[in-house]
Symmetry: C2
DNA sequence: CTCTCAAGACGAGACGTTACGTCTCGTTGT
DNA sequence: ACAACGAGACGTAACGTCTCGTCTTGAGAG
């Protein structure tokens, strides 16, 4: 029997929750993830430390939630990929957009922070996949299935594998800073992946 | 003009250096990277804290060096890949070995710790590529060039791209715990990559 | 080639600081 | 009313700097 007393979520202060999430996001951008402390988040949010410890189990969880809140609401129909009937062209558009996104310095710090936490915390990793990665991947798979029906991709292709071949090299190059992320690189990945999964 | 006084490396105590590196490696295995402190390393090594701060600029740098020391000496001819003339078979052997390595719990903690540091410290990332990744990649490229001469891989293939297609999906799957790492998976990556780069 | 011997790296640990996570306090809001 | 709240005190841990003597070492003297 766990003696843990559970706070009542119904009485939770939405104002404080928002202030904490905002403060966390701001601080990560300003001083970098490693230098952010829970005390600093509490001070910036004008909140008692206990209010943070009551609802989150670590700094990583707070920061993770603050990022999650950002991309919420983007989970409607707006995330459907373009479908012109030309899978190569459509994928290149999407991959080039991803490259551009990774090049934005404003995304650099938060995404690296996110990855740092995900690597070391299986719980957060699961939450990340469930709330962020899986929905986005599913949207991409919708487009890939359409390509399968059009005979542009092998009908028996493992779509998870397709996505890995497309995105993992890009992701690794960015994470390790092991090479330039250019439009040409994005195009090359699309060409190679389509060749690998050609019917 | 930097006013920093530089310690004289010629007078450095090799005994202390080794003790620190050993202590760091042990502690990471025992309690996990996040919970390792410089004070604990110093205590375990029987060394003054200043001796650590004198030669390393952060905990990450110490731990990184301790891993680096492990794989030193493996940089001879012993790291050449098998070359039976059959690139598919040879790559599958190597990839299956990599999968097995990643599955070893003893490697789990150190490699995740290493990646945590590399993501957030461009300096360590550069050192990692120079001292570890590049030499290993070069050995793999030797085998790939042999395959190119044998007409098993397109002569104009970008070998860095070949390696990324092979390893990045594996690496990402392990890092994010987003799927099982099996021999079948390793084989699939080899098959797909070879198809993508077929002449 | 051996013998000094000062420079400086060393082990130990004190120091002030920061942040941790827990724990009261009154206060506020539902 | 009661539980979550803002505020902040508390003991602990580790930070990075610093000052002690002590021990090592390499360059010059013999």
């Amino acid at each position: 029997m766990s003696t843990a007393k559970k706070p009542n979520p119904a009485r939770r202060s939405e104002r404080s929750r928002q202030a904490i999430l905002d403060a966390a996001r701001e601080l990560v951008s300003e001083v970098g993830y490693a230098k952010v402390s829970i005390e600093a988040i509490a001070a910036r949010a004008g909140v008692g430390k206990q209010t943070i410890y009551r609802w989150w189990r670590s700094k990583g969880a707070v920061v993770f939630d603050s990022f999650l809140a950002l991309s919420e609401g983007a989970h409607g129909e707006g995330m459907a990929l373009p479908d012109t009937g030309d899978i190569e062209a459509d994928l290149k558009v999407v991959m080039r957009a991803t490259v551009a996104e990774f090049a934005d310095p404003d995304f650099e710090a938060p995404i690296r922070a996110l990855n740092t936490e995900i690597i070391n915390d299986p719980d957060l990793a699961a939450q990340y996949r469930e709330k962020l990665a899986d929905p986005v991947d599913e949207a991409k798979k919708v487009r890939l299935r359409s390509a399968q029906r059009a005979g542009q991709i092998a009908a028996d292709a493992d779509l998870d594998l397709v996505l890995e071949l497309l995105y993992a090299p890009l992701y690794q190059r960015w994470l390790h800073r092991s090479g330039p992320l250019t439009s040409e690189y994005a195009d090359a990945l699309v060409d190679l992946t389509l060749k690998a999964f050609r019917p």
